[in-house]
């Protein structure tokens, strides 16, 4: 009975999140990018000058909202708990690798769903890779993979990341001259909803994700591990509500928010193999981390310093991807990106093996 109630709540939350994701595009975000944790963290990295790709620089208020929404609800529900110390540097590196995979595909698992709901069939190759990556991760989980336990930390440690997010928001509103922004018409970074709308959407989704524990990786992982469908239902609800909202927006506005096909999709390429391998890397890395990029943001809002470090790893991965031409573009993947994804898969395999089969584990 309790589980049934939880399922109802997560489906409703997924519907709200999907509608917001679709509406954010209507309000100005790039097409099929109402939310994309990887793209938005990449944009923030650019806004802070960590990379110099002029087309993708903007301090996305959605990310600030996600962390603060989770933080505020966790505090209200007395679930805020400063924790950390579970293989922090390994998590940082895994975060970097996950981002390299996401930028090969051009989107995080969240955007993968939004791309499919927008008719982008290239994302189905990504979904295939994502599922295979999760299966690879589950293989190691079932054999004892662990990054070791976390420990209680001073409350300050848990509150620092939400504080940093709040400071970034102040910078965006009060001192934008300190940040870098994509010029109008200069790329996806120039496309964004108004600040207050983006922030409000982030706050709502952050709170809903904290309450429901929505996780793009967790849905498939729990289905495989326990035959438990709750998180997967949230995943499906996001897809279904975005699809319906896209179709309604298309009918009402006369602008197409749903374009079925592979060629000419926004912020996407048509190389199926590398879409697959990019999300294979992302899915595998996310299982080893214990959650998708969205979940890492939500956990960092709850006071989890390990997740905060993972988010910093994701941002570092974005900077590396653009500074060394690893990120794909609409023209397709780069040679450097292909090498990085292969090396990334090797690195994730080594981390998985060491975390599973090392002899010094207690």
């Amino acid at each position: 009975m309790q589980l049934k109630g939880e399922k109802t709540v997560i489906v409703l939350a997924g519907c709200v999140i999907g509608v917001l994701a679709s509406l954010l595009v209507f309000w100005g975000n790039p097409v099929n990018m109402g939310f994309c944790i990887a793209c938005f963290l990449r944009d923030i990295s650019g806004a802070l000058g960590f990379h110099s790709a002029a087309a993708v620089q903007y301090l996305r208020p959605e990310i600030v909202g996600l962390v603060l929404g989770s933080f505020l609800l966790a505090v209200c529900r007395k679930e805020f708990s400063a924790r950390g110390g579970s293989s922090p540097l390994t998590r940082f590196v895994l975060g970097m690798l996950v981002m390299i995979g996401c930028l090969m595909f051009l989107g995080c698992p969240f955007r993968m769903i939004l791309r499919i709901a927008g008719g982008d069939l290239n994302a189905l190759f990504g979904l295939g890779g994502f599922v295979c990556g999760i299966l690879a991760g589950v293989f190691f989980l079932n054999r004892g993979y662990t990054l070791r336990r976390s420990y209680a930390l001073p409350r300050l440690e848990g509150a620092l990341f939400p504080t940093i997010m709040a400071v970034l928001l102040v910078l965006l509103v009060a001192v934008p001259s300190l940040l870098r922004f994509t010029e109008a018409g200069g790329g996806p970074g120039a496309l964004h909803a108004p600040v207050l709308i983006s922030l409000a959407a982030g706050l709502i989704v952050g709170a809903l994700a904290q309450h429901t524990r929505l996780c793009m990786v967790g849905g498939i992982r729990d289905m495989v591990l326990f035959r438990e469908s709750k998180l997967l239902l949230g995943f499906i609800a996001v897809f279904a509500s975005t699809l319906v909202c896209n179709l309604i927006l298309s009918a009402v506005t006369g602008t197409s928010y749903f374009n079925l096909g592979m060629a000419g999709q926004p912020v996407a390429h048509t190389d199926g193999l590398w879409n697959f391998l990019g999300m294979l890397l992302a899915g595998w890395g996310c299982v080893l981390l214990g959650g998708c990029p969205l979940r890492q943001l939500v956990l960092s809002g709850e006071g989890n310093a390990d997740s905060a470090l993972t988010v910093l790893g994701l941002m570092a991965g974005a900077a590396v991807s653009h500074n060394f031409s690893l990120a794909s573009s609409a023209d397709g993947p780069t040679a450097n990106g292909k090498i990085a994804v292969i090396l990334g898969l090797c690195a994730v395999a080594v981390i998985a093996c060491l975390g599973t089969f090392r002899k010094d584990r207690t």
Binding site: L141, G144, R149, A152, G218, E228, G290, G291
Partner: protein
């Protein structure tokens, strides 16, 4: 009695399930109930006594008993 244990790592849950079954206590792994924790980790539910061997307990975050009134705390790790 029916008990649920949450863990600091998934590996702890795997080891606990294995141990419980070896002790003749029917056990299964499942996602942590939302009302028990906001973490999205794995827990183990088993039938029988709540006591666990020392090596398994090292990875246990908390143990509760399922009662008609809800969860009754039995054990919580000291350095949470």
């Amino acid at each position: 009695m029916t008990c649920i244990a949450t863990f600091f790592s998934h590996f702890g849950a795997v080891r606990c399930q294995r141990t419980c079954r070896a002790l003749g206590r029917p056990a299964r792994m499942m996602p942590v109930p939302r009302t028990l924790s906001s973490s999205c980790g794995t827990c183990v539910q088993w039938e029988g006594e709540p006591e666990l061997p020392e090596d398994v307990l090292a990875d246990v975050e908390q143990i509760v008993e399922i009662t008609t009134q809800g969860y009754r705390p039995i054990y919580r790790a000291g350095s949470l």
